[in-house]
Subunit: 464 residues, 2 copies
Amino acid sequence: MDKHILKELRRILGPDSLLTSWEDRACYSYDATGQSFLPDAAAMPETAEQVAAILRLANEHRFPVIPRGAGSGVTGGALPVARGLVITFSRMNRILEIDAANMIAVVEPGLITGELQAALKKRGLMYPPDPASLKFCSIGGNAAECAGGPSAVKYGVTRDYIIGLEAVLPSGEIIKTGVRTEKGVVGYDLTRLLIGSEGTLAVFTKLILRLLPLTESKATFLLTFPDLAEATKLVAEILSAGLLPCTLEYMDRTAIAAVRDRLKQPLPDGTAALLLVEFDGSKEEVHQQAARFAKFVAEKGNCVLRQAADEQKTAELWLARRSISPAVLSLRPHKIAEDVVVPRSKIPDLVAFTERLAVELKLLILTFGHAGDGNIHVNIMLDKSDPDEHRNGLEAKERLFRFVLSLGGTLSGEHGIGITKSAFLPLEIDPASLQLMRRLKQLFDPNGILNPGKVFPKFSASSC
Amino acid sequence: MDKHILKELRRILGPDSLLTSWEDRACYSYDATGQSFLPDAAAMPETAEQVAAILRLANEHRFPVIPRGAGSGVTGGALPVARGLVITFSRMNRILEIDAANMIAVVEPGLITGELQAALKKRGLMYPPDPASLKFCSIGGNAAECAGGPSAVKYGVTRDYIIGLEAVLPSGEIIKTGVRTEKGVVGYDLTRLLIGSEGTLAVFTKLILRLLPLTESKATFLLTFPDLAEATKLVAEILSAGLLPCTLEYMDRTAIAAVRDRLKQPLPDGTAALLLVEFDGSKEEVHQQAARFAKFVAEKGNCVLRQAADEQKTAELWLARRSISPAVLSLRPHKIAEDVVVPRSKIPDLVAFTERLAVELKLLILTFGHAGDGNIHVNIMLDKSDPDEHRNGLEAKERLFRFVLSLGGTLSGEHGIGITKSAFLPLEIDPASLQLMRRLKQLFDPNGILNPGKVFPKFSASSC
């Protein structure tokens, strides 16, 4: 990036808001994929107008601009794969408004999701999406990837709670999309076109969120199974019975082993799988749902049912659940982590398939995640320094994807495509749709300056 | 439309599937706006391939193609304002699949929404969106306009239940969008870009719906108020208190008067407004919510609370509610019917404004509708043959729109823009967004063959 551009950027941002040292750039080079690409610089804008000026400059000089949330993404959406300028939103992280009467909040993209939730809780309100990374991920990144989380089984995902945006187009124009009301059907749905577009179509500078009243009470259950298939079979049955948990999470034997030391209470001997099930609502509702659930499990489930006695025990269970992703790296040095989705009734087929795959390809593969909505996290563990294991891992990934699609599933439920799945996009998206998506990208960003190399199958970096 | 084209259309469709007589064309000339435009012909395709062939032919010969649901739209989305060929889906109206285990249905666009709901009910399932026209509107039309209904306050609108589409692009290419799973974030969200695009971007040939378990029980309340402001003020308070009704409908004095003869039980003297409030869920849940609600109303509401004793009484209340739109025409021969949305807490301001407007412009204006989500139906009654009244009606409409936007609201919650609001689109949508929407239309439909004259402000037919 030449000196003239850096000077212009300093003029736009002010002297202290452009980072160019190696150390600073290194901080914006990585994400949770473990891959790293050094940007030319990183900008810390404070206003939408500064973002707009950056994008105009980028079009003039054709340098890449990469919007970055908190770097917790697992598909490479925030990686500066073609160098350029990273935009970080650490100085655009405010809650601008909480309108309690209308259950609406207006926030900046750099706001940490967990901080938003804590602030809302004090006001008796709730923003449901709860990615495992909620303590450090940002709401802008959540919107870019359309993040989910355990509560999605009852409450839906990020797209269900973002009703309007202020966004800067690659041209530098600032647009306002959507509404600040519960309903709205005026013009094309730009809001939802931008959500999940992984920072390739526009840069978010403001988000309008719909909120819910805070639920009063919660009951948390742990179900342990001597047999994996019994656990996965029960998932669709729970929901078909009209029970509506706000959490319906699953862990296989290996996931349990990885976080066992975080569970103070020992699990029954021979536990092959567990379900973590929660109900929320008013005290009476929770009491009734919990009673119905216990009765249902007594009749249907070949398992041991335990209810968390208090908040501490509940927190312990959640700590274990949220620790799986980092903890599995104690098993093998690397992982290929996929968040495939299948129709709920097909979860047993998916899990059986991954077990066969593990044996055949001599790999450690574990499965866990949001069983309630069929969104299973498959972690293929490996040591990349072993060429056979690396090759087998990549083969396992492709065979997993093909199998998931054969079940009527999808390659990603909440992580997005980024760079780690872009080569596989044509497996799921038909040629005419893919062509249409490319033309949409071209329409928004004719010079290809915004987050280049993402989503579409052309970037050829390491694909895991 | 010249003979060569008609001959080609007959070849594509078969001899009995192209209607060209004046009588037949007249059947496809109108919708619920009361406006009428005669098409050149109407096609009754049975397959997506036939739709694709029609669109290819239309591009070759540059004739307009207008996809039509059941003609129940109130903003002119299905009107052939530039003549051309109407496509009707009366022969593509099947339920292709109900996957009860995964709570998914696959249907064709011509399916009547109420028929889908009845079929699902037998399977213990539910598709929540419930436009007042549900007995005759079609699911394809619902998707094109992103229809809502009373249940939206708890369950959301059409876009929240359509997770995938088969659609034909104006080019004649058939695409598949979305997923058949609860979650999915692969590629740009074409599904939601197409939903609510009012038949201007693509023609739907298949819809994948997510379903819910059928709720077991319901409790219905009628609240009558001696004062309008008391009714509207209570709306936001009900929801802020954490009560979550599946219906929170409101009617003012004039709306009540229009449907009074459908209510067998007389209302208290001096009733100035009413709320229709329902709770659904398991028997216990409904019982508890009903008890909480009754307590809440006793403390907060300046009103008379009555619970519908049985299903017949409930049906009577609903018949009255669903009859408002047709019934008001007994008051004056014409109406300008708008479905504006405001933040819930602003409903009292909106209603007070319409009352002032009515006095000032000497018009009968009534308000009713989905108060729970701020989506108020404002009906400006008039006799168009009286030029003063007509002019005042149009002035009232524009002043209403400007006031709604000043409250942070939107011009339409569920009816769309069509032709009746297109002139007002720039009041709500900023120039850069509007330009972007025009370019999206151009990208999808470079020859402008698909539903021309809709959404964008250029068609100059009567704007009410």
